[in-house]
């Protein structure tokens, strides 16, 4: 069995379109130092650094861990760089956890970042390939047809996506780090925002952000002595499937269902809506909330949108299972960091340290990330108690 491990420090930068006040090194260091401060530690207390980010073309720096070692206090230590597409922030946290859960290290630092203002993500995602069909689509163009198919199958009304867009921005307005601060956003405003990729409107899409997130993960002995309450890692899981194959279920991918089943089994979760107190789930386009509610077993097939419409996922409406109280990816999206932010925000909740977006009394939380053509999944469950 895996050794117990816990998050003992969390640090984030503020998220915004362009952090032109810091270099790439300055950005990752800011998150790292914030995490160390939160843990009451310094770089000297760290045994290894695990770095994650999405494609190198987003900044134009190849294998940036080579350059970032100095900024992350890693000289003389092991440095690992993870890249699993959009799920990378979550995968990086899981690879970092494995350094401790394997008994190999006592305490590690993990950092994920994206400084999207350095280039153009749309270009980086869509440059033509010699042997493949050129889809100049970007992420929204890729996911829109899948969302349309979800709407066709479930019969969900048009305002579901709009409601998610409003709900996550109202959550984000409670999170001072969130990129989009839209405390007065209305359903009408979202409905009237221009259509980008039918049915995804502008305000139903994530922003493009600069930012970094970091965590310190420690073994049981050190976590027991931590200055603040640790978030115990109760389950970890990853799954991948190919982008395309005959009969692939793209609306409700099997890799997501399998990954959830795996992480729930480890954490002893039988009914996720009942057993979990809060979830931070990767929702870059509004409609992915109802879709993932079903994929992750919070609602029966075809009924995820009903939870959204009832307000079950809204912290502000007092819903029973708040999703993305931090504002989620719809409020801040430094792509390579977005998954780790979900994992870190889940940990903040069970540490009872989430400020104005705290879910009262949260004890068990899900962190979720996905990437590629909704084919790469990373999830963890963290709790205020060891078991």
């Amino acid at each position: 069995m895996a050794n117990l491990a816990a998050v003992v420090g969390i640090g984030q930068t503020s998220y915004t379109t362009k952090r032109d006040d810091v270099s790439i090194a300055g950005l990752v260091r800011e998150a790292a130092v914030n995490a160390l401060d939160d843990a009451g530690l310094t770089f000297k207390d760290i045994d290894a650094v695990i770095l994650g980010k999405a494609p190198d073309m987003f900044e134009g720096v190849i294998m940036p861990e080579i350059y970032l070692t100095d900024a992350l206090g890693c000289n003389g230590k092991p440095m690992l760089r993870v890249h699993t597409a959009g799920s990378v922030g979550g995968s990086t946290a899981l690879v970092a956890a494995s350094h401790v859960q394997s008994g190999t290290f006592k305490r590690v630092l993990t950092v994920a970042f994206e400084k999207q203002s350095e280039s153009n993500a749309m270009w980086a995602l869509s440059n033509p390939q010699p042997f493949s069909t050129h889809l100049n689509a970007g992420a929204g163009g890729y996911f829109a047809p899948i969302i349309r198919e979800y709407i066709r199958r479930s019969g969900a009304p048009d305002e579901v996506g709009i409601k998610v867009a409003v709900k996550d921005r109202l959550h984000g307005a409670r999170n001072p780090l969130a990129h989009l601060q839209l405390p007065d956003i209305t359903m009408e405003e979202v409905a009237e925002s221009f259509m980008l990729w039918d049915p995804i409107r502008y305000l139903e899409s994530c922003p493009s952000s600069d930012g970094a997130c970091a965590m310190v993960i420690a073994n049981e002995e050190l976590a027991d002595k931590a200055s603040k309450r640790p978030a115990w890692i109760r389950g970890v899981a990853m799954r991948s499937e190919p982008t395309m194959y005959a009969g692939r279920e793209e609306v409700n991918p099997q890799a997501g269902r399998d990954c959830a089943a795996d992480v729930y089994a480890q954490a002893g979760i039988k009914d996720p809506r009942q057993d979990l107190d809060v979830a931070e789930v990767y929702v870059p386009f509004s409609w992915y909330e109802p879709m993932w509610l079903e994929n992750l077993g919070f609602a029966p097939k075809g009924e995820g949108w009903k939870l959204t419409m009832e307000g079950a996922t809204s912290l502000i409406d007092g819903g029973d299972i708040p999703w993305n109280p931090s504002g989620g990816v719809l409020s801040s999206n430094p792509i390579g960091a977005s998954g780790m932010i979900r994992f870190a925000e889940a940990a903040r909740q069970v540490r009872n340290d989430a400020g104005d977006h705290q879910v009262p009394g949260a004890k068990l939380a899900l962190g979720h990330a996905y990437g590629g053509g909704a084919q790469f999944y990373a999830m963890w469950v963290v709790g205020s108690e060891k078991s």
């Binding site: 069995m1 895996a2 050794n3 999405a54 494609p55 190198d56 073309m57 987003f58 900044e59 134009g60 720096v61 190849i62 294998m63 080579i66 350059y67 970032l68 070692t69 100095d70 890693c74 000289n75 003389g76 230590k77 092991p78 440095m79 690992l80 760089r81 993870v82 890249h83 699993t84 597409a85 995968s91 690879v95 494995s98 350094h99 859960q101 394997s102 008994g103 190999t104 980086a124 440059n127 390939q129 010699p130 042997f131 493949s132 970890v236 899981a237 990853m238 799954r239 991948s240 499937e241 190919p242 982008t243 194959y245 692939r248 099997q254 890799a255 399998d258 590629g372 053509g373 084919q375």
Partner: protein, 355 residues
Amino acid sequence: MKEIAIVGYQQSDCVSDAGALNEVELIIPVLERVFEQVGISNAQDVDFVCSGSCDYLQGAAFAFVLGVDALGAVPPIKESHVEMDAAWAFYESILKIRMGHADSALIYGFGKSSPGELPIVLSQQLDPYYLAPQWVDTISLAALQARLMLDQGKITERDMAEVVARSRRNALNNPHAQLKGDVTADEVLAEETYLSPLRKADICPVSDGASAAVICTVEKAQEWGLPYAVITGIDHIIESHNPGMRDLTDSVSTRKAAENAGMGEGKVDVAEFYAPFSHQEIILTRALGLGDDTSINPSGGVLAGNLMMASGLSRIGEVFNRIVRGEADRGLAHTTSGPCLQHNLVAILEKGEAA
């Protein structure tokens, strides 16, 4: 801690230009051979898969995504990827087995470097504010390192030429090598310098291809009834990125990683170094204090063929091959990343007990 073994290793031939083959087509034949070697049918038969590749070699974001197509990942698999040499995917897989979430893992690395100008491409690994804008390519940085060693009297050009000559001769026995031949140091020295003090022969070639390995717990290896080599230690360490802040004529991180991996606990019969430049093999050999009783780079090393993102895994595979063939009892495999040996990984492999 759980004992972990290597049970399979395969690589493609190192070729200077794989032509119209895409990355998936480079990976599939190697995977098929390693599956056959281990007696499994596809990635479904292992508990974890991890790969190493680089988007900038492919010239596209997400180089590894199509790689998943080569695996048979239906139903979905537990899979991860490092934007590093696959030797680090090997490292990640070991952690996964140690934590009890897998008993076996498939690791692969691939790179098709030929379409671009590799030394120039890799210059964009450097600090984007102070170094990369100068477009200092990897060969130029290595030439500076070699020049430092020559100026300090630590090596001669003949020492470098001897490394090349031995690589070419050793590679005669390596069916996958790209550069091989019965070459003497005098013949190497007769070549003109390319980027002084380096001759073309001092520099590893650009190669296209892939390599793959299967690792598992020792119990699993015995259950499968396969010959195996035990991974008795592994560690990796990165140093400062600023070349002016390091002693480029030594490799402190390699020495420390080898120490942590337990190199000193026994004799090293064979060592495979990822030394893309002749003088770097000398740095590494000296950093570890290896002498005449260690066979250095019997495969020819990467001077004979350099599968970017897979060469590190190949060093481990070469040591494994020698151990299971009974040519060595204990060996050391080294991998590097970054300019002038900035980041180094060392693994120690030993002969397993008969199943």
